[in-house]
Symmetry: C2
Subunit: 447 residues, 2 copies
C-alpha cells in the first residue's frame, strides 16, 4: 500500500514546524504582554454545540464523528430507509470536530462562568476542521489564533487590539494597513438612506466592494431594490475617511453618531503613541459576520495580494445561545496560514530557525565514538543542542551527513584528540578550524 494523507490536510516537516512556531510565539508573547491568557478546548465538541451556529452551509462543512460500537442499532429507522444522509446524522454521530474557536469559547465561558473573573481575556491557538473543497491556501485542517476580551464594554480593548496588531506585524516584518470601522456607523448610514431595516443586506453587499468593485456593487444594490439616489448617497458616505466629516454626515442619526463617538474614543486612547503601520477609518469595512455590533477590524498587507490577514470586532451577545445573557465582548483572529505564506514568499523567517543543532561530533573509531558521546553530553549539560553521528563510520560518510543536515560546526575525534584532549572545531560555513579544549569548545558553541 502506498501511504497518503486525506486531501486538504498537511504534514509539517521540522523546518515548517519551527516556522509555524515562530509566528505563533510572536503572537503569543504579545497577547501575554496584554494580559491575555491561554485556554484549550477539545477537538471534538457535542454536535449540538456546533450545529446551527454557522448557517446551513456551515453545518454541512462540520466534520461529524461516527458513534463507536454498533452505531446502527440506534440509527433513525426512517432516515435509514429513506437513505436520508442529513436526517440520519443526529442518530449516528453525537460529536463533531471544532469548526472555529469562537463557538467553543462561548461554550467554555458559559460552562466555566463561576470559575472565571470578568473581564476575562483569553487567547487560543488550536487547529479547526472544515470540510471545504481543498484548494491552494485552503485546507480542511488549519490553525486559528484568536484573542477575546469578554465581560466588558470598555473601548480600551479596541485600542489594545490596535496596539497588539501593530506590534505583531511589526515584529514579523510585514507592513500592513489596519482598517477600523463601527457597525453602528453602518447602521446610521442605513438609517439615513431610509432603509434602517436593511442593514444586513447592505453590509453583505458593501463587504464585497473591494473584491467586485463599485459597478458590480451598484448593480447588486439596484437588483435588491435600492434606487439611484440611495446608491449615490451611500457612496458619499463610504468615501468619508475623516472622523470629523463622518460625524457631521451622521449627525442626525443617533446610532450613527454613537458609532462615530465610539471610534473617536478608541482613537483617543492611542493619542501620542506611534504606530508602525497605517491605521485608517474605512467606512466601507463591513465584515460579513452578523454577530458584530460595534467596532470592527481588518488588516491587509501592503505588498501582498492575500486578502485579509486579521479580522475582528465587538459583539453584544456571544454566549446568549448557551444561556448566558448580556455578556459583551470583543475579539480578533489572526489568519496564521496566510501570514505563514507571506513570511515564506517574502523570506521573513530568520535563518537561525533551521539551525537548531549547533554541532555534530564525529568519532573515527569505536573508542573515539564513545568519547564523542561523553563530550556531547558535556556540551548538552551546558545547554548546547548537538549530536553525535551514530556510528564510527568513514569520515567521508559522516561529513556528508553533517552537510546534509546543515549543522554549523563539526568536531572530529580520533585517537590523537583523545590523548591530547584538544578538539578541532570546524566552522562548516567558513571552513575555519580551531583547536580547543573542552571549556573553550563549550564557550565557542554556547555563543
Amino acid at each position: 500500500m502506498k501511504p497518503g494523507i486525506p486531501k486538504g490536510t498537511r504534514d509539517f516537516t521540522p523546518t515548517q514546524v519551527y516556522r509555524r512556531q515562530y509566528i505563533l510565539q510572536i503572537i503569543q508573547s504579545i497577547f501575554e504582554k496584554y494580559g491575555y491568557q491561554p485556554i484549550e478546548t477539545p477537538a471534538m465538541e457535542k454536535l449540538e454545540t456546533l450545529t446551527g451556529k454557522y448557517g446551513d452551509e456551515g453545518d454541512q462543512l462540520i466534520f461529524k464523528v461516527l458513534n463507536n460500537g454498533d452505531y446502527l442499532r440506534k440509527a433513525d429507522p426512517e432516515a435509514l430507509s429513506e437513505k436520508d444522509s442529513q436526517k440520519l446524522i443526529p442518530s449516528i454521530a453525537r460529536r463533531g470536530l471544532r469548526y472555529d474557536l469562537t463557538v467553543p469559547f462561548a461554550r467554555f465561558v458559559t460552562m466555566h462562568q463561576h470559575e472565571l473573573q470578568f473581564p476575562f481575556k483569553r487567547y487560543q491557538m488550536q487547529p479547526v476542521w472544515r470540510a471545504d473543497r481543498p484548494q491552494k491556501g485552503r485546507y480542511q485542517e488549519f490553525y486559528q489564533c484568536d484573542a477575546d476580551a469578554i465581560g466588558t464594554d470598555s473601548l480600551i480593548c479596541e485600542a489594545e487590539y490596535i496596539r497588539i496588531i501593530d506590534q505583531v506585524f511589526d515584529q514579523l516584518g510585514i507592513k500592513v494597513s489596519i482598517f477600523l470601522n463601527n457597525r453602528k456607523v453602518l447602521a446610521g448610514i442605513a438609517e439615513l438612506l431610509g432603509a434602517p431595516d436593511r442593514l444586513a443586506e447592505l453590509t453583505v453587499t458593501i463587504d464585497k466592494l473591494d473584491k467586485i468593485g463599485r459597478e458590480a456593487v451598484d448593480i447588486d444594490l439596484l437588483n435588491k431594490g435600492f434606487d439611484n439616489d440611495q446608491i449615490s448617497k451611500l457612496h458619499d458616505f463610504l468615501d468619508l475617511e475623516e472622523l470629523s466629516e463622518l460625524s457631521r454626515a451622521l449627525a442626525t442619526s443617533i446610532i450613527g453618531s454613537t458609532g462615530v463617538s465610539e471610534l473617536s474614543e478608541v482613537l483617543s486612547y492611542l493619542e501620542g503613541m506611534e504606530l508602525n503601520n497605517h491605521l485608517r477609518i474605512k467606512t466601507s469595512l463591513a465584515r460579513g459576520l452578523n454577530y458584530y455590533t460595534g467596532c470592527i477590524f481588518e488588516v491587509t498587507a501592503h505588498a501582498h495580494e492575500m486578502g485579509s490577514l486579521l479580522g475582528g470586532g465587538r459583539y453584544d451577545d456571544l454566549t446568549g445561545v448557551f444561556g448566558l445573557k448580556g455578556v459583551s465582548g470583543v475579539g480578533i483572529s489572526f489568519g496564521v496560514e496566510r501570514i505563514y505564506d507571506i513570511c515564506e514568499a517574502a523570506n521573513l523567517f530568520p535563518d537561525v530557525l533551521d539551525k537548531r543543532i549547533k554541532a555534530l561530533f564525529l568519532g573515527l573509531d569505536k573508542e573515539s565514538h564513545r568519547a564523542a558521546f561523553a563530550l556531547a553530553e558535556r556540551c548538552r549539560i551546558a545547554g548546547i543542542a548537538c549530536d553525535v553521528y551514530p556510528d564510527p563510520a568513514k569520515l567521508r560518510k559522516q561529513m556528508k551527513f553533517a552537510n546534509q543536515i546543515g549543522v554549523r560546526y563539526t568536531i572530529v575525534l580520533g585517537s590523537e584528540e583523545l590523548q591530547s584532549r584538544r578538539y578541532t572545531c570546524k566552522d562548516m560555513d567558513s571552513g575555519d578550524q580551531e583547536l580547543l579544549d573542552l571549556d573553550q569548545l563549550i564557550q565557542k558553541l554556547a555563543r
Copy 2:
C-alpha cells in the same frame, strides 16, 4: 440548552494550559538538546492507514469521521440492509482520528523518505483520540509526547534516551526508576525454557507480573500449558539483576547472549556519567507491544502509585507495513497526562506559572484611566506583561478584581499621580508601597 463537552474530553483553563506547557517545554528543550526535531501530522488520517495496526480491539477504538455530503449514496447496500455497523464503515467513513503518534510517524517517514536525512530523529507532541470507556485518568483525547530515532542500529540512541529520561524527570522534580531490558534476553529465556516459539505468550504474561503478582502469573502459565519446572526456571531468570549473572545464565543461547551484550554496550556509553535517578536492568520488563525487538524501557515514579510514566524500545521494522523495508528505529513515549497528575499531587509546579500578569493599573477617573493605558503601554514595550482595569470604576471594585486575578503589583492613578508623574506601586503579597517614577517603575516590574 445547557452546554457540555463530550465524555472523556476536557477544557483547559489558563492555569492548566500553563502547567501543561511547563511539562511539554521541559521535555521539548531536552529533546532539542539531543538533536531531535519536531514534526506534526494531521489529526485525521486515512482510515486505511490506521486500521489493522492496533489489533481488533484497537480498530474498535478508533474514532471514524463520517464522509461529508450525501454519504449514504455510496454506502455499501448489503451492510446497510444487514444493519452491520462494522461492515458499513469503509463505505461511509474515509478518515479516522489519529490513535497514537507511532503509526502516523511511520507513515510520515515512508512518504517523506526522499526529503529526510537518515538517521532521522524526530519528536512529536500532539493529541491522540481513543474511544476508550472514560474513567479517572483515562481520556478520549489526550497528549502523547514521543521521540524516535529511525534509520540506525546504533545503541548510542538507547544510551541517549536514558540520559534524556534522567534529565527530564530531574528537571520536573520527580524521582523515578528507569528500567531497562532487551527483547532478545526474553527470547533467550524462552529458548532455554524449551519454548522458543512461545515468546509472545510469555511476554504478555510476564508483563502482568507487577500488576497481578507471581501467584496469578504462575496459574496463568500453567493454564497455558507451561509445566512447573519451566515456571520455576523462568522465575530464576527473572530474578537476575546483574548483567554478569544474566550473561552466564544465558550463555548457551545465541539470541539471549546478543541481548545481554546489547545491554552491556548501552551501559558502556554511560560509564563515568552520573545519573540523578536509578537505572536498573529488569529482566521481567516485557512491554506488551509486539513490534519491539531490542532494548525496551520503562519508568515508574518512586513515591506515586501511578503505573508507568514512560515506555519505549527498539523496533526492527516499523515502516514495512507502508512499503519501506529494513529501517530500524528506537523510540520513547512520555506519559504526560500521568506526569501532570503527579506534578499536581506533589505540588511540583512553580508558583510563578500562574502569575503571568505582573501588574494591574487602576485609573480613578476618566483622564487617569487613559493615562493608565499609556503607562501600561510603556511597560509592555519594555517587555512587562501587565493590564489596565477596563473602566475607571470604584477603587474598591478594581482592587477586588486585582486580588481575584492574583496580580503581584497594583498601580493606582489619580489626578495627583498624573501631575507629579510619580506612581504608587503596591506589592499585593507584602502590602508594601513605593513611590516611583516611570523608569523606576519599569525597573521594578521588569525584575
